[in-house]
């Protein structure tokens, strides 16, 4: 009886640890792209402030840069889905 209880508790604990790991992994994976997006947008803003006439071109590059950087977060998202119990 005790053995059964211990096995159940271990299983539940494992499930819980998996869920915590998935959440932590997703959160940690989002930090890097967050910093990257901040850099991209910051530089784009300073370009637009210096040369407002090139704003359209800068916005195009900025949008693609943000989307590429976000792909890293998506990798973390996929790991999150795969780890979820």
């Amino acid at each position: 009886m005790l053995n059964v209880l211990a096995e159940t508790a271990t299983g539940e604990m494992l499930e819980g640890l998996k869920a915590i790991g998935a959440g932590l992994g997703y959160g940690l994976a989002a930090i890097g792209p967050g910093i990257g997006i901040g850099t991209v947008v910051g530089n784009a803003i300073s370009s637009m402030a210096r040369q407002p006439e090139s704003a359209g071109m800068v916005r195009t590059t900025m949008f693609l840069g943000i989307a590429f950087t976000e792909a890293l977060a998506l990798i973390g998202f996929v790991v999150f889905i795969l780890l979820l119990p």
């Binding site: 901040g38 693609l64 989307a67 976000e70 792909a71």
Partner: protein, 148 residues
């Protein structure tokens, strides 16, 4: 292949629209891969991933075009908070459907990652980095009406 942007389009919105159009073009391939991996469940999961990718691009573009009309400071805040909101929305969307019988993780994950990166790489070939036509490269003028 390139769409003709209207003068009213913000560059990022025209790019997001073009990305969605390209997602539609490649969707049969990923839907077939989904079917091959997990049958009907894989088909629906791949479709969901394609829809999420397109929605993510559109929402990002809309946030930028709205925020930039206000100020550059607003743009910075909106992009960073928009990033968090979009990630949160995607997580919520998956958490809602993940316990459904039809949800297949592997086709969803494959489609999400490959489509997002693949579409972006494809789009970079069709983006115009000129002052005159920011956004999607304008279509080449037709030579049908050309008269010597």
């Amino acid at each position: 292949m390139s769409a003709t942007p209207t003068s009213l389009d913000a560059p990022e919105v025209s790019i997001a629209r073009d990305l969605a159009r390209r997602a539609l073009i490649i969707s049969p391939i990923f839907l077939l891969i989904g079917v091959a991996i997990d049958g009907v469940g894989g088909l629906i999961s791949s479709g969901l991933a394609l829809a999420l990718v397109a929605f993510n691009f559109f929402l990002g573009a809309k946030i930028i075009s709205r925020a930039i009309a206000i100020s550059l400071n607003t743009l910075y805040g909106a992009v960073l908070f928009g990033y968090l909101i979009r990630l949160g929305l995607m997580a919520v969307a998956v958490l809602i459907v993940r316990n459904a019988d039809w949800f297949a993780t592997v086709p969803f994950a494959i489609t999400l990652l490959i489509t997002h990166l693949g579409l972006l790489i494809w789009e970079t070939k069709h983006v115009s980095l000129s002052l005159a036509f920011p956004g999607v490269m304008p279509a080449k003028p037709s030579t049908d009406n050309f008269q010597e």
